[in-house]
């Protein structure tokens, strides 16, 4: 009797813990949205998302300023695109290297090294990017690019010391391990029998990858890229240190920019209460975008079969 009650208490405890986890997520959405609502209502959702004026007021209670997220949404998308453009080919390359080329004895240590890249805190990426990687490596690269392709507005010089390009490249390094770890799992989950079949009819290694491994992995790769995208959109500190900060959209990637996340940490401290609410509205927008991407990505990856959650965490 007493033991049966023990079981009921046990079930209640663990169930409540599960509910608590979901409750935190729900509370997260409700609490921030409630604070963001006055701003969204005063600006209008369409104007808030597409306008490019950010002119905060100083009121403690009312909303007196103009708050439009366009500049920061643009910066968020451009940095994430640069990051993916650079990280995806390399990540897929590493994934193929690990699944189809590397000696099994190399595989383990290599995976551990890539995981190490994921374990480095983002503030360390930011410090390293700001005081080493950008001035030493990226600056000459950017100057060469703008020297040769400067006639394209996207690459127009001069190269400013803090810019969208620097933030995008460092972001690429940061999302690399995420995309790699899923790509590796996806590629490895292709049955060896299929590879052997292709090799048996004389296919080269590349032909096996192209005609067997990659086609079968396509949904998983899409999911991996989207998870990388979600991470790139939300990354804050490294970007805040590298992107400089801007209040208008600049065509050139060698000019400063601002992402939604960097805007929040850059201006939070000096903001009056109404402007803090506007930053919360920015945060809610970012959250909505990343959660949609995340849910879609996980549905795709999940359909691929049950990959261990560890890779995606």
């Amino acid at each position: 009797m007493k033991h049966a009650r023990g079981d009921a208490a046990f079930r209640l405890t663990v169930t409540l813990s599960g509910v608590a986890v979901l409750g935190v997520l729900a509370l997260m959405i409700i609490s921030t949205t409630l604070d963001a609502l006055p701003v969204l209502r005063s600006q209008g959702l369409g104007t808030f998302l597409t306008g490019t004026t950010w002119d905060p007021g100083g009121s403690r209670t009312a909303i007196t300023g103009t708050y439009q997220a366009g500049v920061f949404l643009y910066g968020t998308l451009v940095t994430a695109l640069i990051a993916l453009l650079l990280a995806v080919p390399v990540s897929l390359g590493i994934g193929l290297f690990l699944s189809d080329i590397a000696h099994p004895r190399v595989r383990g240590p290599f995976v551990a090294l890539i995981d190490l890249l994921a374990a480095i805190p983002s503030v360390v990426y930011g410090l390293w990017g700001l005081h080493f990687f950008a001035p030493v490596v990226l600056k000459p690269t950017a100057q060469t690019l703008s020297g040769g392709l400067g006639w394209i507005p996207l690459f127009e010089g001069p190269v400013i010391a803090f810019n969208v390009f620097y933030a995008g490249v460092v972001l690429a390094i940061m999302v690399l391990p995420i995309i790699t770890s899923i790509a590796r799992e996806v590629f490895s989950s292709v049955p060896d029998a299929q590879r052997h079949a292709a090799y048996a009819v004389g296919a080269t290694r590349w032909e096996v990858m192209r005609s067997v491994v990659l086609p079968r992995s396509r949904p998983g790769i899409v999911g991996a890229i989207m998870l990388g995208l979600g991470r790139a959109l939300g990354e804050t500190i490294a970007v805040a240190l590298l992107i400089g900060g801007a209040t208008a959209i600049n065509a050139s990637i060698f000019q400063p920019g601002e992402t939604v996340a960097s805007k929040i940490v850059n201006t939070f401290q000096e903001s009056a209460p109404e402007a803090v609410r506007a930053l919360i509205a920015l945060g809610v927008t970012l959250f909505a975008i990343t959660i949609v991407i995340n849910i879609a990505a996980r549905l795709i990856v999940r359909r691929m079969g049950d990959l261990s959650g560890e890779a995606v965490a």
């Binding site: 950010w54 002119d55 905060p56 100083g58 400013i160 803090f162 400089g244 900060g245 000019q255 400063p256």
Partner: protein, 367 residues
């Protein structure tokens, strides 16, 4: 250490003792401030025991930290923390009562003062500590000693003057050979007191600026490259020939930036220095509550300048805290000038110092 709850709780049982000490303190307070600016106040400060927490503006943070260091070395019983969380946060925390004193680059609005009084039960006072100036830095090889006036600066930052050889600039610099280089405007992209001082100046001087942009810690810039902090703006200027932007004077001096002289109300072209910043407040009408913007600067004063303030309440501290806070502020105002100058902040000058000290004496005076 939230002042609101904790201090009030301890203040209640100590009410009687507190008011006695308070009276004693006021008695000693007056002579110590008339001793003259250089007198060491250790005699008055001996035996002080308190923990003070302040938060606010980042701009004066370096000088506050060194004042705290020097003061607490003389008064080992006192510990003071100042968190550079930004003026916005500084005012909010001060109103909320979670700090003992606030720091802000902008004086509190009537709205904020009313909120503070309502939350705390008595008025808050403004104590100006140092002046900061905003320098207009530029990057134009071969051109030194550039002179600008408010109308030219406004037009440049509005994007109306686009090249360096514009007639408006040429008229101000008859002896300089100005190239046809494009002007690249750099401004702060984060909220800052520096932006506030700069835009307040332009707002007061140029009607066009007032209508198009206005003033504030963060404004909607019609043109230019944004940069995070003084570093971001300085980098944008340094790397672009033709670049122009505004930075804190202390930052410009520290990094040897080329800065423009700016014409004041008397039509004098004044180079931004600590002396010309200190001179800025000389002819200024400063209201009773010490909330003021610096505008219409004349004489030898550099026109783009502003004060930064410590905020404190006229009641609600326990006696030990009030003594320590008053002793610290008095010490800083009387003995802190050298440290301020080393860090390139301009002292507020003797006339204003007397009035600031009077406000220090009002701390906790409302009981």
């Amino acid at each position: 250490m939230p002042l609101g709850r904790r201090a009030r709780r301890t203040a209640l049982p100590l009410l009687l003792v507190g008011s006695l000490v308070l009276a004693a303190c006021q008695a000693t307070g007056a002579p110590s401030s008339s001793d003259g600016p250089r007198s060491p106040s250790t005699s008055a400060g001996a035996g002080l025991q308190a923990n003070l927490v302040g938060a606010g503006a980042t701009f004066p943070d370096p000088v506050y930290q060194e004042w705290i260091g020097a003061f607490t070395a003389e008064n080992p019983g006192v510990s003071i923390t100042y968190e550079p969380i930004g003026s916005g946060g500084g005012v909010e925390q001060f109103i909320a009562g979670s700090t003992d004193f606030g720091g802000s680059d902008a004086f509190m609005t009537d709205d904020e003062l009313a909120a503070a009084e309502k939350a705390h039960g008595c008025a808050a006072v403004h104590i100006p500590t140092v002046f900061g100036a905003v320098a207009v830095a530029y990057n134009l090889p071969g051109v030194e000693g550039l002179v600008l006036d408010s109308s030219a600066i406004a037009k440049i930052f509005l994007g109306e003057i686009k090249t360096w050889n514009d007639p408006a600039i040429a008229a101000l610099n008859p002896n300089a050979t100005l190239p046809a280089t494009d002007i690249i405007v750099a401004h702060r992209s984060d909220g800052s007191g520096t932006t506030s001082i700069f835009t307040t100046y332009l707002d007061g001087e140029s009607g066009q600026w007032h209508d198009a942009v206005g003033k504030g810690k963060e404004v909607s810039w019609p043109t230019g490259v944004g940069g995070q902090g003084n570093d971001g703006v300085a980098a944008a200027i340094a790397q672009n020939e033709g670049g122009i932007g505004y930075v804190e004077l202390s930052y410009a001096i520290e990094n040897s930036l080329t800065v423009a002289s700016v014409k004041n109300a008397d039509g004098m072209a004044i180079e931004p220095t600590l002396e010309s910043t200190a001179a800025a407040a000389d002819g200024i009408e400063i209201p009773e509550d010490l909330r003021f913007n610096i505008s219409g600067v004349a004489g030898k004063g550099y026109p783009i300048a502003g004060a930064t303030w410590v905020l404190a309440y006229t009641c609600g501290y326990d006696a030990a805290k009030a003594d320590a806070l008053k002793a610290f502020l008095r010490w800083s105002l009387e003995n802190g000038d050298d440290i301020a100058r080393q860090l390139h902040y301009a002292p507020i000058g003797e006339a204003l110092q007397v009035r600031a000290l009077a406000n220090v004496d009002r701390i906790n005076a409302a009981g």
